[in-house]
């Protein structure tokens, strides 16, 4: 009788440990905070598909756009159990959710994985008289606030790049806001605005097809697409290196409170996914620069972006909550 009881007790204790299978045992849900078909969405779908193959479970990508700077999606992902079965697909633009009143936390509550970013480029309409950045900025300096520039939405990373360009070169543009990068590129093609600043990935097809003429990259290195070589803006205006580059950071994140085992498994799968042939080829074809930072390093990058964005928005007068109230340091 006692022996039976002992055996039962041992089984009872051992059973949960034997039942505790390794993470992951179920499908993972990736909630992308931006709309379907956009840069963040496509990046997340490709990397999630590769990670799913490595981890052996499905990763279902769903879109939950809305709120301000993706606050609804982040709140939903953060509100689920912190067991590693809900990932949030986000981008650098989400760092403004706090100061715009959509969210009450800082970005350090996430454990991020940065997939890639695409460098920003400034382009003009094909029939524009300006052939180099120098000419263009001279014209802008000569007639301040008359040259119309588009850069996606107000407060977006492209707008910040435009502002940095203005600060570093002394030119002043007439900023015309659009709801996103694609409409501002359309407006540049139709001639409604004179120049546009968006990422290379978004403009690549239009540049190759001759619908937009690139003037310069807003990063230290130039770039070459097909036969078109785009010089770096830093060559003529070294002052820009004080304010630029501001790189995109598209990726995914899990809440920082998930178990360490989850973090290790996901980081491993993530690194392997980024090194895979498919993702490398996709990044090359679409002009993305793979990043690959995870955890600590990625968090630092996000924190830097958060400071920069938050305090720039204060200057633009669009904040609802002061960055000080959230504890965001100045850049």
């Amino acid at each position: 009788m006692k022996k039976l009881l002992l055996i039962c007790l041992v089984l009872l204790v051992a059973a949960p440990m034997a039942m505790a299978k390794k993470y992951p045992t179920r499908d993972i849900t990736n909630i992308v905070v931006w709309g379907a078909g956009g840069g963040t969405d496509v990046c997340n779908r490709i990397v999630s598909a590769e990670m799913a193959a490595i981890l052996g479970v499905n990763i279902n990508v769903v879109n939950k756009p809305g709120g301000v700077a993706g606050s609804l999606g982040m709140a939903e992902a953060y509100g689920m159990k912190h067991d590693g079965y809900t990932i949030c697909g986000l981008s650098e633009s989400c760092v403004t959710a706090g100061v715009q009143g959509g969210w009450d936390k800082k970005m350090d509550v996430w454990y991020p994985f940065i997939v890639a970013g695409s460098p920003d480029v400034i382009s003009v309409t094909p029939d524009s008289p300006y052939k180099t950045l120098k000419e263009f900025l001279e014209a802008a300096k000569a007639a301040p606030k008359t040259i119309k520039a588009g850069a996606g939405g107000s407060g977006s990373i492209h707008h910040l790049n435009l502002l940095a360009l203005e600060k570093g070169s002394g030119a002043a543009f007439n900023f015309i806001p659009y709801p996103g990068s694609a409409p501002s590129q359309n407006a540049a093609m139709t001639g409604e605005i004179n120049c546009v600043v968006t990422s290379l990935a978004e403009q690549a097809q239009l540049i190759r097809g001759g619908k937009l003429r690139p003037l310069a990259m807003l990063t230290p290195d130039g770039f070459t697409i097909d036969a078109i070589s785009i010089p770096s803006a830093f060559a003529d205006f070294p002052d820009l290196s004080k304010h630029l580059p501001i790189m995109q950071a598209i990726g995914m994140a899990v809440p920082a409170g998930v178990p360490d085992e989850v973090k290790a498994t996901l980081s491993d799968a993530f690194t392997k996914a980024l090194a895979s042939e498919k993702v490398q080829q996709w990044a090359k074809d679409n002009y993305y620069i793979l990043n690959g930072k995870t955890g600590e390093a990625a968090s630092k990058e996000f924190a830097q972006l958060e400071s920069l964005f938050a305090w720039t928005l204060v200057e633009l007068n669009t904040t609802k909550v002061s960055p000080d109230a959230l504890g965001i340091p100045k850049p």
């Binding site: 179920r26 849900t29 107000s154 806001p177 669009t318």
Partner: protein, 250 residues
């Protein structure tokens, strides 16, 4: 017909007044929006300001509301208008059958959407919603229906009150308490209704309705959760159970 038309005009008069007040509110809000300083990197002028459309819409509401009230007053006459106000607020209009039916038809989805969906497992909440909605209109000819209606109303009020107030306290200790409570409530309703229906004799229809409710809900939950991969609003006991079956975690 003439009388109905007059009544409509009388109501129009009050609606028009309400719309005018609303329009004024919109215009006031509009003037509170930035009309001059720079915002988001864009210099504000009257045609750029976010206030342009609210002011336009507010003025539009004001004018249209005035027009509506004028037409109402013109066609119905002052006497009719006073009569409309009196009869609308009279007790027997508020308790009449069409108004009752409307309250029932509107309250059940309201309770479902605002109270049940965010707190209770989607499957259980939907079964309760479907069954209650079907039953209350199906059973109208049954005798003893009044007491049944009252029983349902009291039961739902109690359930909602418990879920809303105590929900916060038990979410850590007993994760599925809300589900169990709602399921128990549903079972109580079903048993009570069965008693009434059995006396009336339409037992077969009763069980058929229940079967339809449960089958449809389960099919929809499975389709949306596992085929369309849509995470449901609240995933509690039943969905957890389905998950376990799917992943063979027994």
């Amino acid at each position: 017909m003439e009388e109905k038309n007059n009544w409509l005009r009388g109501v129009d008069f009050y609606c028009g007044l309400g719309i005018m007040i609303f329009g004024a509110f919109v215009v006031v809000e509009g003037f509170g929006m930035p009309l001059r300083d720079s915002l988001g990197g864009v210099q504000n002028v009257w045609y750029v300001s976010p206030a342009l459309s609210p002011i336009f819409v507010g003025v539009g509401f004001f004018l249209l509301g005035a027009l509506l009230s004028a037409i109402g007053l013109n066609e119905a006459g002052a006497g009719e208008i006073k009569r409309v106000l009196r009869t609308s607020l009279a007790v027997d209009t508020l308790l009449s059958l069409p108004v009752q039916r409307f309250l029932v038809a509107a309250t059940i989805p309201a309770v479902y959407i605002f109270v049940l969906i965010p707190r209770v497992d989607f499957c259980i909440a939907s079964i309760l919603f479907l069954w209650l909605y079907m039953m209350l209109f199906f059973l109208v000819e049954t005798e003893g229906f009044r007491q049944l209606q009252l029983f349902f109303a009291l039961g739902m009020a109690l359930l909602c009150a418990t879920l809303v107030t105590a929900g916060r306290f038990w979410s850590e200790s007993m994760p599925y308490a809300g589900d169990l409570l709602t399921a128990a409530c549903t079972a109580a309703f079903i048993l009570r209704a069965r008693g009434v229906v059995a006396r009336h004799g339409s037992g077969a229809a009763f069980w058929r309705t229940l079967a339809i409710c449960i089958t449809v809900t389960i099919i929809l939950t499975v389709c949306f959760r596992f085929f369309l991969l849509v995470p449901l609003p609240t995933e509690g006991t039943v969905v957890e159970f389905m998950d376990r079956i799917r992943y063979n975690e027994f």
